[in-house]
Point group: C2
Chain length 335, copies 2
C-alpha cells in the first residue's frame, strides 16, 4: 500500500542507500542518480517516512506544545503564532491540552514516547516545577509566558509580572486615583501571585494610597463579572487592576449593569492587550503583553537548543507598556 524506499530503488535501478542519499541534503550522490531517483519517486508518488528516519537520525522535528489555557481567547492568537512559526521552520506541533492537570508526569511521559525534539510549555498559570520536569526527563524545553526568575532552571520567555503589578500602581497614582484595588485571577496561578506581589511592593512606596485585594476564580469573563458584582455590594474602589483582559471585560459588564460610569467613577486596567481589548465598545485600557515577540523568541530559543541541547538556561523578559484607551482617566497634562 504505502510506497517505500525499496520500491523506488528497484524502479530506479539503484541501491536503497542511493535513494536515501538523494533525499538528504548534502549527501554524496551524482546528479545523474539523483535525477533517476527523483523521476522514479515522482512516478510512484513516494515521500519518505519521517518517523522511520527519526529512528536513526534521532530527530523527529516534533515539538510538544503544552498548554492549559483553552478558555482565554488570547491563547488562540498565541496558538496561531506558535503553529505558524514552528511550521515555517519545518517543525510540527504536537498539541497537549492539560485540561485541569497541573502535574507534569503524564505529558512528559507521552512526549517522550513520541520522541519529540523539544517541548514548549505555554502557560502563565502552571506551578514553577512543571517546565523543569521536561528538562529533567531530557527533553529540551522552553517555558513561554512562564514565571520570570533571575536564576531560571529552564529557558523562560515572558514578561516580568512583578513589574506589571508595580506599573499598575504607578499608573493609578499618576492619574490621581487614591483608593485602588487589585482584582487578580486564580490565586494559584504564578502570574497572579507575581502581579499581586508587585502591586503590594509598589504600594508601599506610595503612602497616600489605600488598596484592597481580591481574586476571581479563573481568567474568564464570568469570573470577572461575578467578582465585580460581589465587590459592588460595598462602595467600590476608584480603580481596579484586573488580572487579565477577559477578566476586565467581565468586570466592566458588571459595572455597566450597576450604572457605574467608567472611567469617571471607576477605572479599570487590564493586562494582555488581546485583540478584543481594542474593539470599539470595549476600548479597554490595558497593559500590553508583547505576545508576538514572546512567541518568536521562544521559537528561536527552541531552535538554538536543538543545535545545542545543553545550552545554559536563560530568562528573556520583555517590557510591558500601557495602552491608553477609554477605561482609565487620562494622565494629567504635563506642564
Amino acid at each position: 500500500m504505502a510506497v517505500t524506499l525499496k520500491d523506488v530503488a528497484e524502479l530506479a535501478g539503484v541501491s536503497r542507500s542511493a535513494v536515501s542519499r538523494s533525499f538528504t541534503e548534502g549527501a554524496s550522490v551524482s546528479a545523474r542518480t539523483r535525477a533517476k531517483v527523483e523521476k522514479a519517486a515522482r512516478e510512484l508518488g513516494y515521500s519518505p517516512n519521517a518517523l522511520a528516519s527519526s529512528l536513526t537520525t534521532g530527530r523527529t522535528k516534533l515539538i510538544g506544545l503544552v498548554s492549559n489555557n483553552f478558555h482565554n481567547p488570547i491563547f488562540l492568537e498565541i496558538f496561531d503564532l506558535f503553529t505558524r512559526g514552528l511550521q515555517e521552520r519545518g517543525l510540527r506541533p504536537l498539541l497537549v491540552n492539560l485540561s485541569d492537570e497541573t502535574a507534569p508526569g503524564n505529558s512528559v511521559r507521552m512526549l517522550r514516547q513520541y520522541s519529540v525534539d523539544g517541548a514548549i510549555v505555554a502557560s502563565s498559570t502552571l506551578p514553577t516545577d512543571f517546565a523543569p520536569a521536561f528538562h529533567e526527563a531530557g527533553i529540551p524545553v522552553v517555558n513561554a509566558f512562564g514565571r520570570y526568575a533571575s536564576d531560571p532552571r529552564v529557558h523562560t520567555v515572558g514578561i516580568d509580572n512583578i513589574a506589571c503589578g508595580r506599573l499598575a500602581v504607578k499608573s493609578f497614582a499618576a492619574r490621581g486615583y487614591r483608593r485602588i484595588a487589585f482584582m487578580g485571577g486564580p490565586e494559584a496561578a504564578t502570574s497572579t501571585q507575581d502581579r499581586h506581589a508587585g502591586f503590594m511592593a509598589e504600594l508601599a512606596a506610595h503612602p497616600g494610597l489605600e488598596a484592597s485585594i481580591s481574586f476571581a476564580g479563573a481568567y474568564s469573563f464570568e469570573a470577572g463579572r461575578r467578582e465585580m458584582q460581589r465587590l459592588l455590594q460595598a462602595p467600590p474602589a476608584e480603580a481596579y487592576f484586573c488580572g487579565d483582559d477577559v477578566l476586565s471585560i467581565g468586570a466592566l459588564s458588571a459595572l455597566r449593569d450597576h450604572g457605574v460610569s467608567v472611567p469617571e467613577e471607576v477605572g479599570v486596567l487590564g493586562l494582555n492587550d488581546m485583540e478584543m481589548a481594542g474593539w470599539a465598545g470595549i476600548d479597554l485600557t490595558t497593559i500590553h503583553q508583547p505576545i508576538r515577540q514572546i512567541v518568536t523568541s521562544s521559537i528561536e530559543l527552541m531552535m538554538a537548543m536543538l543545535g545545542e541541547p545543553d545550552r545554559y538556561p536563560e530568562a528573556r523578559v520583555f517590557p510591558c507598556r500601557i495602552i491608553e484607551r477609554a477605561t482609565l482617566r487620562p494622565l494629567p497634562e504635563a506642564g
Copy 2:
C-alpha cells in the same frame, strides 16, 4: 542516553520479545516474567518508543488536526474539545495551521510523512475538494464543520447551512421584519455560500419580504463593523442575518456608534452561539451550532474509521436552533 527495550531485557534477564510482549495488551506472557520486566523497566525509567513500534504495527495514534480558523474565538472552544476528546481516546493531535493556504497538497504530504492514522479537517471555509484529497492519499479523513452534501465523498459532520439560511428568513418573517438583509462572511467560504443560498430560497417563499445582500471580507469583528458602517450610509434594513457571531458583534458595535437602537430599530441575528454571544452586554440572539456534538461525533467517526478504513462515507447533520436573547424582537405572543 535513552533507555531501550534491550536494556530492560538485559536487566530482567529475558529476551527482547519478552519485554515487548510485557508491554502489549493481551500478549502471551507469564505473570512471573511480566513482573520481572516491569520491575526492570521501572528501575531504568523505560517507556516504549511509540514511533519505533508504529513502524511494525502501522499505527501511530497520531491524528492530523487541520484548520485555518485561527482568528475566530469559537475555534478555541473547538480546539479544546478536539484535543481533549482525542487525548481521552489515546490519540495525539498533530496540529496543522493552514494560514491562507487553500490547497491540500502541502498538508497531505506532511501528514503522510508523519504516518498519521487519520486527519480531521476542521473548517467551514475550505473548498469542497480539500478534505477528499486526504482520502485519495489514503488518509482516513473526517471533515468537521464542512459543507453538507447528500452524497458526501468523505465523512462530513456539521450543520446544514442552507437550512440555517432558511431559518433566518423564517425567524425574521415570524417576528414581523419586512426589509431584511443577509450580511455574509467571505464569499469564497462554503458556509457563506450555503447560508446565502438558503436565505434566497426561503425568501422566494415569502413574497412580502424585501432583501438586500452583502458580504464582509472575513469572519472577524473588524470586517463586521466596517461592513455595517458602510451599510449605514444608506437607510439600513430592519434585520440582518450575519454570517457568524463575531461578525455580528462587529456589526452591533457599528450600530451602537451610529445611535441605532437594537432590536427596536434594527435586529441582528448571529450564528454559532459562541461563549461570548451570551456575555452580558452583548446578549446576541443567534443560531446555535452544536459544536460539542459535532466534535464528539467527528471523533467517534474517526475511531470507527481506524477500525474499518473503507467505511462507507456518511454525512452527519445536526439541527440548529435559535437562542433567544436581546438583539431580535421577540416572537409575537401566540394566541
